[in-house]
Every structure is written in structure tokens, then in C-alpha cells.
Subunit: 451 residues, 2 copies
């Protein structure tokens, strides 16, 4: 890899300039007034791929188009590379220290909207491919880029495309760099994502808000009924009380426990980062187990009655809660949906009516770290970053991963190149220049593993 890495180092300036070109498009997929800019960004990518020597085209969807680019390699093994060219809105503008759509180099970081999420990380793979082509004249394996423009707006374009084209989307593995390393600088491979179930419950009392003086005492208070139901869902030690909830939860494997211990979760930093008074969760489990390998029950929102300034002496007509559960292997989303619905219904007293938006969700993802594709990712990270990568899991769910996992049944190499401090979705988003360069190297190295 020496020659390739030298090539990469020698072209830092051009690669940065090109990333700057990519970043300049305000491809905010959520904002309809940015539709043109989002399209121009996709078109720029297509041209860029063609200049690099790849076949590339726009694929129309119900929303923003997909950029598809591919090239045959020496081996017929195919690596699929996922990314997204759309970005979060840049607001609030007044908090930005540099123009959000100008990549500004400052103290070793590229500052811009999309710098880490996902233009910078995606560009590592694009330049990884180019560096190989330029130094070796051909690619070690077949490469297919699938780059969507709807990741930040929840569009279904790519998912629909994958479902429709799954027979033509075979490959050996799929790599995604749209996440973080471990801590500030440790390269990491993510091998597990939690599943998710969403639900909303609305307890209904009187037809309209009632005067709490004239009626209070003889009318059920929907907010109190709701509070009592929610309070019965999790005990004081953080254990979820849905019957059978933990039946299929796999205990954390000994190697993982050892791994978690080595990862040395920094509680002080966590408290500083989040601003909480103290961590709180299921008793008897470490912080990493709690967010990576234990299921949860979270209230995402609660509402009812008067929430404005001052007070209003009413009994609310209704009160509701939005709830999500995070699932871990081997919980089954459909089974848990049924158990949740039955449990919640059993807690609703007979003197109120209710509306339950039926729970629905998706299963957790767990990839065996011994799978050759993951081992390839590990080697690539080691070579690119010059440091041994760690294995991590992620508490969240990545919808597209779930679709790829279920439809394409490909091993997924989750190789986040950003860090927690990059401020994805926030003002002053940034991406470390050294992670950019090492990411390009890791990408080139990854392709080499599929020769």
C-alpha cells in the first residue's frame, strides 16, 4: 500500500479542494427551496465519478435522486459503498463561525455543513477508489456506489430502489462510513445496532378541557391516568416491566464484556457531554451494556393540557405520550409489539377512553465480528489509521442498514470516520483533516481486501 498511500498524501491539496467543491452545494434535502441545489449536488457527483473513470448516472426516485456509480475491477467480487450527499439544514445560522457551505480549514479541521455527515466521510471512499485507479490503473474488485439524497429527510427513494433492484445489487459486502469512531480518535468497527419500536398513547377524558374547580374531583384527569400508566412500564431500577420483554435478550458475551471493559467508558466525560447530573439506567449493567446491549423504554414526548406561561385551571381533555423502545438481539420486533400493546392496554383504567397508535418497528442488527468482511474492515482501518481498531456497537438504529440487512442480506461494514465532537447536525460541524486522509487510505485498503 506504500505507493498508494504516498499518492494520497501527495494529493491532499487537490482532494481537499474537491471536497470543498462537493460541500459548496447547500443540498438540504428537507427544504423544498433547496431542491435545485440538492439536484445540482447530485449532478456534480455524477460528473465527478465520470471524470474519475466510473460509469455513473442519476436514478430518479419519488424524492431526491440516487447517484449510482460503478466500475469493474480485477476480481469479480463486488463491494457496495453507501453514502448520502444531502445534509441537515444549516440553521441556526448565527451560531456558525464560518460560512456553512464553504469548507474552511481551521486548526486541523474542515468546518462546514456536511463536513462529517456525510460528505467528508463519503468522499474518503470516492478518493480511495480514485487513488487506486490512479496508481494501479484498475480497481482490485468491482465497486458500486449507491449515494442517496434523502438520508436527512427520511425519504424512501433508496429503500424503494433496493427493494426493487435487489437481484441486481448482489455483492460481497457493503460499507457505510456515516458515523463515529470510538472516543476522540480510536478507529472502530460497529457490529451491532439496536432495533426500535415506536408507539403513541393518548388517554382521553372530557370532550373539552374542563374547569378544574367546578369539575375537579369527579372527572378522570387524563394526564394523571397517563402518568400512572407510564410509571408502571419501568421500575425504579430501570427494568422494563412489559411481560416477557427480556425473555430473548442474549446476555452480553464474555468477549464483549471484556471488550467493553477495555473500552473504558469515561463517565466523567459522558456527564460533561450530556449535562446530566448522573447516569441512570438498568441496575447491574455497565454504561456500554446499557446503551449497546440492553433494551430500553423511552418517553420521547409527553403532552396534555396547558403548557404555556403561567397557569390555567383545567382538567385536560386528553394527554399523550410518544414512546420508543430499543431492541437488542434476539428480541423480535413483532413479538415485542404485541406484548407492548397488550401490556399498555391492560394498564388503562376502564373510566377513560384512549387512542393507541399501534406499535411498529424493526429488529436489531448484529453482525458476527469474525465474518471475513468485518475482518477486512478491521485490516483496512488498521492500515489507514496506523492504529488497531476496536469493536463497538451502537445504541441507535440506521433505517437504511436495516433494509440492506433484510433485503440484500449483505454483511455491513460500519466504519464511522467521524467523532462525537464533530457536531453532526449542529452548527460548526467539522471533520478532522487527519481522519479525512486516513479515511481515504482505509478505503483504498478495504478495496484491496476484496482483490
Amino acid at each position: 500500500m506504500q505507493e498508494i498511500f504516498r499518492y494520497i498524501d501527495n494529493h491532499e491539496e487537490r482532494y481537499l479542494r474537491e471536497l470543498k467543491d462537493f460541500i459548496q452545494f447547500p443540498s438540504v434535502s428537507k427544504h423544498s427551496q433547496r431542491k435545485k441545489a440538492t439536484l445540482e449536488c447530485a449532478q456534480w457527483l455524477v460528473s465527478h465519478f465520470r471524470e474519475m473513470g466510473l460509469d455513473s448516472q442519476l436514478i430518479e426516485t419519488s424524492g431526491h435522486p440516487i447517484v449510482r456509480a460503478e466500475r469493474k475491477g480485477k476480481s469479480s467480487r463486488r463491494l457496495i459503498i453507501y453514502g448520502h450527499y444531502d445534509v441537515q439544514p444549516e440553521e441556526p445560522l448565527d451560531l456558525w463561525e464560518t460560512p456553512p457551505f464553504e469548507a474552511t480549514l481551521k486548526e486541523g479541521f474542515i468546518h462546514a455543513r456536511g463536513a462529517t455527515d456525510d460528505k467528508g466521510q463519503l468522499f474518503c471512499h470516492i478518493k480511495g477508489v480514485e487513488s487506486l485507479l490512479k496508481t494501479e490503473g484498475e480497481l482490485p474488485c468491482d465497486v458500486l456506489f449507491l449515494i442517496e439524497g434523502e438520508e436527512e429527510c427520511g425519504g424512501s427513494g433508496l429503500k424503494d430502489y433496493i427493494r426493487k433492484e435487489k437481484d441486481n445489487l448482489k455483492g460481497e459486502a457493503l460499507v457505510i462510513s456515516d458515523g463515529n469512531m470510538y472516543g476522540d480518535s480510536t478507529p472502530a468497527l460497529c457490529y451491532g445496532l439496536r432495533g426500535i419500536i415506536s408507539m403513541e398513547l393518548i388517554i382521553k377524558g372530557p370532550r373539552t378541557d374542563l374547569h378544574s374547580g367546578s369539575f375537579g374531583g369527579n372527572v378522570p384527569n387524563p394526564a394523571m391516568v397517563l402518568a400512572k400508566i407510564l410509571a408502571q412500564c419501568v421500575d425504579d431500577n430501570g427494568k422494563v416491566l412489559i411481560p416477557g420483554y427480556y425473555d430473548k435478550v442474549k446476555p452480553t458475551a464474555p468477549w464483549e464484556l471484556e471488550n467493553f471493559r477495555k473500552l473504558a467508558f469515561d463517565e466523567t466525560a459522558f456527564i460533561q457531554q450530556t449535562g446530566i447530573k448522573a447516569p441512570h439506567g438498568e441496575e447491574g449493567f455497565s454504561s456500554l451494556e446499557r446503551v449497546w446491549n440492553r433494551p430500553t423504554f423511552e418517553i420521547n414526548g409527553i403532552y396534555g393540557g396547558y403548557a404555556g406561561e403561567g397557569g390555567k385551571t383545567i382538567i385536560p381533555s386528553y394527554a399523550g405520550a410518544k414512546i420508543t423502545l430499543r431492541l437488542v438481539p434476539d428480541q423480535d420486533a413483532q413479538e415485542i409489539c404485541l406484548a407492548l400493546e397488550g401490556f399498555i392496554k391492560s394498564l388503562i383504567p376502564d373510566y377513560v377512553t384512549y387512542e393507541l397508535k399501534r406499535p411498529s418497528g424493526s429488529n436489531p442488527v448484529y453482525i458476527d465480528v469474525h465474518h471475513p468482511a468485518l475482518q477486512a474492515g478491521k485490516t483496512a482501518l488498521r492500515e489507514g489509521f496506523g492504529e488497531e481498531p476496536v469493536y463497538i456497537r451502537e445504541g441507535g438504529s440506521i433505517p437504511v442498514v436495516k433494509v440492506i440487512w433484510e433485503e440484500l442480506q449483505l454483511p455491513i461494514i460500519l466504519m464511522g470516520l467521524g467523532t462525537d465532537r464533530d457536531g453532526a447536525h449542529a452548527p460548526n460541524e467539522k471533520f478532522s483533516l487527519s481522519n479525512f486522509m486516513n479515511g481515504i487510505k482505509a478505503s483504498a485498503s478495504l478495496l484491496k481486501q476484496f482483490k
Copy 2:
């Protein structure tokens, strides 16, 4: 009273016309663009009182002025008459079947904003005084009207005036007609109002909303912490769990229990009116006891996290609840405030921070029905309506009553002339023409009791 009542009957048309003049002012105290109209309404009242032969003047306040009107009578006993000339906003306009500021007579009802609350009810007393003056040439007792323009906007003008002038506001009793009879048509004297305590509790977790996937399981969820606290405040049988809460609660007296039984609360009508599935409250007490003579704990509003359409996978940064308690004799508001604050604090787990807007409130009001002033009110209602009035209590609190009660220490004759169905504060507010006429008679009769 025969001659006076005949006079009243003979002048129905003029009285109605004058009420129409009073109603035409859109004296919406809450809306600054109606300030002029509100002032004009007060000025109209002053002129009207002067034409009737009373001394009258506007009294400036920090908000809308007070209308004061008085006249000496044969006896030096003084009856103070409270009322308010301001009204609720008329919105939503499209739901009105007649113009809100035109008194429209339809099916025996006067339809207009302020018809029952409080222009119509107040006007009964104004015309009661006039009818006596016109038939007898003088009043049986001294009369003082105190009519505020800030009842519907929570202004403090009258309260400040009462506190400042209390030495000059002596009298034998104060009468208020700004409420309802019992059921659809039974004249009623109200002898008890519940007290009130207000509080707001905000549980604080992370500095900002956090991703419920990446952080969920290791961070306290403020909405869940809040739900658990609230759930511990009232048991499943509607009993409030604040220590000592019921210590001073007087059991309902045997005569009251008998009275409540006779009043024959109509549960079916209550369910229809409120739209609830079933009444719910403190076990072992009747509906009337629950709303009139039992203290409560109500959540007026609950909020936290995401409440918009769809979902958002977050752990809310904070969650709060607005709470009011209703107090009954002999609970002491200050004592209960302390007990409530201590209790709530004891329920807050040590892994969250919180903000507690300190509880504050006011005592219940209870007037002995044997007091001569109340007996005078009873006679007046009997004579005016030709029907035996009943004794009732009210679950709500009337702030001005509390101030009068505490500052002036006058017995208060709460003689509501409206009904539940009049739609105070709602579109198509109305006031029964027969209640208007009987109310004038009752007012004249009341003055006679103080001869």
C-alpha cells in the same frame, strides 16, 4: 313587594333595551385594541347610574377603571354590590349565530357576549335598585356598587382598591351575581368555595434533547421521572397522598349530606355534558361531595420532549407539569403549600435536577348559611323567583371573593342568576329573559331585607 314587582314587569321592554345598550360595548378587557370600547362601557355605566339618581364615578386603576356608584338609603345599613362590566373575547366568531355585541332575543333568551357573564346578571341589581327608587322614591338601605373591568383579564385593579380603601368599604354584606343557579332553573345560594394552590415542577435531565438510540438506557428520562413522581401523588382510589393532606378536612356535615342527597346530582347529564366515559374520583364520596367538599390534586398541563406530528427519537431535556390543588375547610393553604413542597421534593430521585415553582395559593371560603345576610339572600331569591332556593357550594375559587372575604370580612351573598347552559365564555352566550326579570325582583327584595 307587589307594587315593585308590578313596576318591574311593566318596564321589561325598557330594561331590556337598556341592557342591550350596555351589551353593545365590546368591552373585552383582554384585548388592548378594545381598551377604548372598555372605557366607553364604563363611562356609559357612570352616566346610567347618574341618570338613575346615584353618585357615580370612574376610579382609575393600573388597568381598566372601576365604576363606583352609591346612594344613601333610609337605613344606614349598607349593601355592597359587586359585578364586572368586562367580557370574554368573542372568538371564534364563525360559531356565533347572532352578532356577539347585539343583544338578540330568541326563544326566551338574550343572546350576546356578556349576556350572563356578567352584564345581564349585574344589570339585575342595577335595575333592582332603580325599581325601588322609582316606586318608593328612596332606597331601603345604603347601596354601593363596585364594578370592575378586569375580571376576565386577571387584573388587580379592584383588589388593590379594596386593600387600599378597606376602611371606607364597610357594610353589612356584599352580593355577587356572577355565577349559576342549580341545574337548569333552581335558584341557589352558594355558601362555599374551594381554595386553590398552584405549583409547577420541571424535571431536568440532559442539557439538550439527546438521541434516544445513542444515549437511551444510560441517561435519566425526565418525562419518566416526572410520570413516576406524579403517579405517587394520588392513589388509584383518588386519594391524595401528600402527608397530612386530609388532617384538617372537615367531614361533610349531616345537614349537608342530606342536602346533597336532595339535590339529586344527575350523573347521566354530567356524563353527557362533559363527554367523559365515567365519573372518577375519591372512593366513598358522592359526586357533589367530590367537587364541593373534597380536596383535589389535578394536573393542568404536562409537557416535555416532542409533541408534534409523527415521532422524534429523543430523550427530552426536561419535562414539566402544572398542578393545582383545590382545598376545602379547614385546610390551611400555607400549611398545605409546605407539605406539598416537602412531599414533591422527597419523590425526586437524586440523579436528576429540577425546578420547582414554589406552591402558593389561597384558603377556601365557607359562609355559615345561618348568617342573617345569607338568610336575606334566601328570602330574596324565594320572592324573586317564586321558588324555594337551594344551598349549594362551588368547586372553583373566585379570586375577588377571597380578597373581599379576607380584607373586608363581609359575609358574601353568592347569588348566581345564570345556568350551566348559558355558555359563559363560549360562543352564543345567553341569559334567560325570565331569570333576568326574576333576578331584578330578587335584587329589589334583597335590598328590602336591609331596611
